[in-house]
Symmetry: C2
């Protein structure tokens, strides 16, 4: 039984021009680098991609930009969930119109403390409005940022109500027990982990893969783990990959994931343009760049 | 010295048609009722108005609907702050294009734990992009829902950077000490309280007025307090008004403000259409309607 989504997906950062508009050229090149580095796909317009700092029009342009750069619809799983249901419907239909069937969908995230019935009603309304049997919806559980958690009973209810449509969930909570519970509750349902260091143990208990920020910098290591985690003959290689992932993740968490990834890419490419973020996020602090360079140099190779 | 905004503003609920589109006819009538009941103005498209459940296009239609119904630009202070800066700029420019100069602006609210520098940069970017000297911006501090608080030092910094533009703040935190501090820090700056029962004490220490949900049901009482709080000869009347406000607010908080206001209006008008909400919010629970009727009947008159 195949998962609706599986493998190593990068929650790619979004490069910006000097006026903070999306830099589609730099983005296309980065997506190709990620695929070359081993990613199965690109989760454009996630939290790491500053998705909710872009308008609906800009989000459509970003998606079309990736396709125009030669990334295929099958390689893309864009974020489409915003605060207002009509916009989520519009973004989902737009993705489908481009042949992209897998989308990652936040619940409406302005109101807090909402009921499972209310979140169910929101997803139901969106799915019924999109009304496209090709849709493969990946729920997005990131309570530390959305502040709207998706409970396990709610997830099971959505799968039962929309079989073949609600096919997966990205769990960015970092709560391994929750991911394990989701896998146990819902056989065949694709749970994608957001915390890279958990990919290795999670694959062993039935996880489908990962959608991660660290893969902007460590895609090859994640791919090694995905491909070889069950092969005892490759244990040394897998351990080395896990070491690199843990070190990279720890570095990102020390400084803040999105500015740090962009700062590392700016250094790598000798391209200051990479450093820009949209407010309210801020660029990596210049006074810590020296320290960051040392940490990047010290990352274990794979 | 006059405040940039003052008096009793209603954070109006937004009535919906059967397909959950905004019901502009019912909204216009409700706005007129609110003005007739004593509101100085209408804060359309606030949290109570389910603003962030509407698309940019729908929000523009709601604003135009209120004007078409005969509410004047001077009577309106709509919410314009959304997660993406380009949309906030577009909504603000749209309001100004209609002659509406006072707007209430949330900070970008998807990312949490952002820095004061980041929030300052977001507001600065918006103000500079709007580039209209008529703009009177009311900051919106509602940490329990936005999860992006506006600190007192940040507010003072924004006032200093954009004098004559950043003229007020709606404080929905319920934290009286914070409101008091904002008034002390920033002479002439209009702090509008969101928690109705605090209007009476807050006016006495220099508050500018209120923008509240309860005013959908108790505008007259709030107006009595606003007009007569300093008149010892009207103390009995003011006390009665305060009693009604406290009882109404307590009733709303028992069940959830937005569905309860809509349920009470549905009863009052004999119009079930009022009961609708957009997911993830849900209508008032039918099994509690009897109990709600009793509480409404028991509200102290004014």
């Amino acid at each position: 039984m195949g998962f609706g989504i599986s493998g190593v997906y990068c929650a790619t950062v979004t490069p910006l021009n000097a006026d903070l508009s999306p830099d589609l050229k730099r983005l296309g090149a980065h997506c190709h680098n990620l695929i070359a580095d081993g990613c199965h796909g690109i989760a454009l317009l996630g939290t790491t991609g500053e998705a909710n700092s872009f308008s609906v029009t800009e989000r459509k342009a970003i998606l079309e930009g990736a396709l125009n750069a030669g990334i295929t619809p099958e390689q893309l799983a864009p974020g489409v969930g915003v605060a207002a249901i009509p916009d989520t419907v519009e973004l989902t239909r737009h993705a489908l119109s481009l042949g992209i069937t897998r989308v990652v969908m936040l619940p409406p995230f302005y109101y807090k403390g909402v009921s499972d019935d209310g979140i169910f009603a929101a997803y139901a309304r969106i799915i019924e409005a999109v009304a496209d049997p090709r849709l493969k919806l990946i729920l997005y559980h990131i309570p530390q940022t959305s502040a709207v958690p998706l409970s396990r009973p709610l997830v099971t209810r959505l799968i039962a109500a929309f079989p073949g449509t609600v096919v997966g969930l990205k769990d960015s909570s970092g709560d391994y027990g929750n991911m394990q519970g989701l896998v146990e509750d819902n056989p065949g349902f694709a749970v994608m982990v957001g915390a890279d260091p958990l990919l290795l143990p999670f694959l062993k208990i039935g996880g489908a893969g990962c959608i991660t920020a660290t893969s902007n910098l460590a895609a090859r290591a994640l791919r090694t783990i995905y491909d070889h985690h069950a092969d005892p003959a490759r244990a040394t290689e897998v351990d080395a990959a896990q070491g690199r992932i843990e070190a990279a993740r720890s570095m990102l968490n020390s400084y803040g994931q999105i500015p740090t990834i962009k700062a590392v890419l700016a250094e790598r490419d000798g391209d200051d343009g990479w450093s820009r973020l949209r407010p309210p996020l801020m660029p990596f602090a210049a006074e810590k760049l020296g320290e960051l360079r040392e940490r990047v140099a010290a990352l274990p190779g794979v």
